[in-house]
Amino acid sequence: MKFEALNIPIDPLQKQTTLDGLTSAIDQFQITTSIKLDLVSVILNQARYLNHLTYGMYVLVLIIESMIATSAGKIEMMIYLGMACTVFPLFAAIECTDAKRVDLIVLHKTYPFDYGLLLSIRFLYLTLLNSVVLLIYILMVNTMRHFILIDALSAITLIFSMLTLSASNLLIGLKIKNGPLSVLISFMVNAIVQFSLISLLTMIQTMHGMIQILWCLGWIGLAIVCMGLTLFKIRRGIHHGYFSA
């Protein structure tokens, strides 16, 4: 049975009549897409990257502070470093797997790239950026090793993180004309999540032994899942031929 051999003829006259009928609908169409394809939108979204970056910094500061305070042994230090190294790719992966993000839509509509390609570019960009920051922080802490400085950095990064988050959320919300209520809800949810995470991290710091190791393994597991998801999305992009375009 050859389905591809089946034929249904199309009458050009009837086709043209229906096409003519569509012309007025096309003429009347008004684009009301709320996202404008301008540079401002892209810049605004960079604020969100900054937010994750500063939040990642805060996590790292907590880890280093804890390392110094407890004079951790070699194994514990390895675990802490492993955890630190997974935190950044984790953030990057979470960012990348969220395809509903405004900046992705803006880039997608501005350039002829599909999401698979955009996701992979962003994943690499964020991981690279975060790795550089990680390196700077390690170097900085190794050189200065000053508790007051570390505490101050911790507070500054936290405040900066919260500020950039609320500012970017508010601006993006207004930009895409979501309405004040959804902007407020989005801000509240983000704030609650962020505060919960910080509280959880602070709580974990006071724990010892097995619980801490399990916590670290949990992070690593989550990071692997997120990265797997990202790679799956990238693979789908390759499958659809977007990398060859």
Binding site: A5, I8, D11, I31, K109, R236
Partner: protein, 172 residues
């Protein structure tokens, strides 16, 4: 995911260049029309339903999520348009349409296949057409016709079994 031609057409619309719609219509008109003929078994009304499909696409374009493949989206609209057509119009005799479609085939084998395909129940015919002619996976079809994947699989299996049986019978 959309290919580059679709992306460019959608981008043109986003930039208020309405020619993007013409590009999309020119690209998918024939596929949508033929699918509707298979679905409703009426060659004349299918022109109106194809027009209605593109009308809806234009009307609701602002709500279209660009991550959803365009062609699949159009087929989904066409399925809804055809379902509305069935709910509004009375069942009519489709014998003449089937005869006409059988007569325009290039070979005897195709004529037989067209006849047995058109005689299948609507739900089985629809999934077989989408799967065997348009190459959609069962998962994609499930999304298009708003049902689950196992239902699509069983409809394809039942339809194909019936089709093979009838095809063998007609060929003899």
């Amino acid at each position: 995911m959309n290919d580059l031609k679709d992306i460019n057409a959608l981008k043109a619309i986003e930039n208020n260049d309405k020619d993007g719609f013409n590009q999309i219509i020119a690209r998918y008109y024939d596929d949508i029309y033929r699918f509707l003929v298979y679905k409703i078994r009426n060659t004349t009304d299918s022109y109106d339903l194809t027009q209605e499909t593109f009308f809806r696409f234009i009307r609701y374009f602002n709500g279209y999520d660009h991550r959803y493949p365009l062609k699949q989206y159009l087929f989904k609209i066409a399925v809804n348009v055809a379902n509305d057509y069935f709910s509004k119009s009375k069942p009519e005799d489709v014998g003449e349409t089937i005869e006409y479609l059988v007569s325009v085939q290039d070979s005897d084998a195709s004529s037989v296949l067209m006849k047995v395909l058109m005689d299948l129940p609507s739900d089985q015919r629809e999934v077989i057409v989408l799967n065997k002619i348009y190459g959609y996976t069962t998962k994609e079809i499930a999304t298009m016709i708003s049902t689950n994947q196992s239902t699509v699989k069983s409809r394809i299996k039942l339809g194909l079994d019936k089709l093979k049986h009838q095809y063998g019978k007609e060929k003899r």
